[in-house]
């Protein structure tokens, strides 16, 4: 009976069977991706399929913007040119100071017999688009494994830290912004060198400094810069400005909100730099001799 069916009726397994199979497959994929992190290779291969579409979606708008730039009025360009010249002067003044400090630092390191610091590699990356996923604050940028981008590199703009690279595909990579939920940056208040941590609270939300006592010496307008204690963000990069400090009765902690200094929503180029140099391993405490003796390095 079954074998005599005309070809028209042969449609393979029923939709419900297929749904079961593919749902099971989806769940397996979800668990192995989210919990076990097994699928990075597969993801990288699939991005190569998606990249032409990503390029096609962004290229026409880019070229239209370039055309409108081309047609922009002369006065605008003159004003911008003047402003950029001023900024360049200020930047070069800072750079001269930085160079002097660098030379001094190198000399001190030599005196101290310390290892030379790694050369900083800088790569200009272009934002392709905001990550579409509304649950996270991510950016997709146009450089990937082909341009030697590595996971863990830091992404900055001309004002401050924007985030870190967490996933590298052959042609693109993903940046996790500092405003992503529960993203932590160890920072230092520039005014009084107080060390603390800035938490992200989600896309387009302010950053928050948590678990500081109500009497803490942080004021509105304070600049927070990276302290470098995590081994991910190199020290001294500006991160955020404090906008609001709330001290509530009955709460042991002050609520401190800040805004990121980097304006990653407003322009399309960012700089990827190397993360902090590798740090010495965390010292094993003397109070846990049993563990220390078990681990042999």
């Amino acid at each position: 009976m079954h074998a005599n069916q005309p070809a028209f009726f042969k449609q393979g397994p029923k939709p419900l069977t297929r749904l079961m199979v593919f749902s099971a497959l989806s769940l397996v994929l979800l668990i192995s991706d989210a919990r076990l992190h097994l699928l990075d290779k597969l993801r990288q291969q699939l991005t190569v399929l998606v990249y032409p579409l990503q390029w096609l979606a962004t290229a026409p708008i880019d070229s239209a913007m370039q055309a409108s730039d081309f047609l922009r009025r002369q006065t605008d360009l003159l004003a911008e040119n003047r402003r950029l010249n001023e900024e360049r002067l200020q930047a070069s003044a800072l750079a001269i100071r930085a160079r002097a400090l660098e030379a001094e630092n190198a000399q001190l390191r030599e005196l101290n017999n310390a290892a030379a610091s790694q050369p900083v590699s800088r790569q200009l990356v272009k934002i392709l688009y905001n990550g579409r996923d509304p649950f996270t604050a991510r950016l997709i940028v146009d450089r990937g494994g082909d341009a030697d981008i590595k996971p863990g590199q830091i992404v900055v703009d001309h004002r401050g830290v924007a985030g870190q690279i967490i996933r590298v595909h052959p042609l693109t990579s993903e940046v996790r912004l500092i405003s992503d939920r529960d993203h932590l940056v160890p920072v230092m208040v520039e005014r009084n060198q107080l060390r603390t941590i800035v938490y992200g609270m989600g896309r387009n939300q302010p950053l928050e400094v948590r678990y500081m006592p109500a009497s803490v010496d942080i004021r509105e307008g304070d600049i927070l810069s990276t302290s470098g204690v995590d081994g991910i963000y190199p020290a001294g990069l500006p991160v955020a400005r404090v906008t609001k400090v709330e001290r509530q009765n009955g709460s042991a902690f002050a609520r401190i909100f800040c805004v990121p200094l980097a304006q990653f929503e407003q322009h399309s180029y960012l700089l990827a730099i190397n993360g902090a140099p590798a740090q010495a391993p965390y010292p094993e405490t003397a109070s846990a001799p049993a563990q220390a003796s078990r681990k042999k390095h």
């Binding site: 397996v28 994929l29 979800l30 579409l53 096609l56 708008i61 579409r132 996923d133 509304p134 649950f135």
Partner: protein, 168 residues
């Protein structure tokens, strides 16, 4: 006008692929920064459309594959879109004969329910995996997609309504 009462030209597979590519481009356009969730999920919309019109060609398997592509493009967990798209494709297929004879405005209502369901599935997945609720604006794309259903269906059927030459 219900689709079943018209005589339509067959659809080439190239056309189906072309519309999916366009839907992907619609989803990947860099307008998310400005509109935050107000953009409809075009890929889900096309899956509903083609599962309704070409149930023998576009089914759960295609929805799964397109969902995987969307997961990669979005940087979300692999399987999140694939699961949601597979479920809505199945729901369309299960009642396809019924839905296909409905007028467009009723189909638009069904599409609204299906798209909200797909987003609710994704939301449930993400919340089970420990993410926070992104706000009610997350669902704003589905009503917009439902409003788009009638013009979109007319536009797509225009391609199939072209008069056949009299050589036959």
């Amino acid at each position: 006008m219900p689709i079943s009462s018209q005589l339509l030209r067959p659809v080439s597979f190239g056309f189906i692929l072309f519309t999916f590519v366009l839907a992907f481009l619609g989803n990947l356009l860099p307008w998310q920064a400005a509109l935050q969730g107000l953009t409809p999920d075009f890929v889900a919309l096309m899956i509903v459309y083609w599962a309704l019109h070409q149930p023998r060609r576009i089914g759960v398997g295609w929805a799964f594959a397109l969902g995987l592509m969307m997961d990669v493009a979005d940087g979300s967990y692999l399987g999140q879109h694939a699961l949601a798209y597979g479920v809505i494709a199945y729901l369309v297929l299960a009642r396809q004969r019924q839905f296909a004879i409905f007028p467009f405005w009723q189909q638009a209502l069904i599409t609204l329910v299906l798209l909200v369901l797909s987003q609710a599935l994704m939301l449930a997945t993400r919340m089970l995996l420990g993410d926070a609720f992104p706000g009610a604006g997350y669902f704003a794309g589905a009503p917009i997609a439902a409003v788009l259903w009638t013009p979109l269906s007319n536009l797509m059927l225009m391609h199939q309504r072209k008069p056949v030459s009299d050589e036959l």
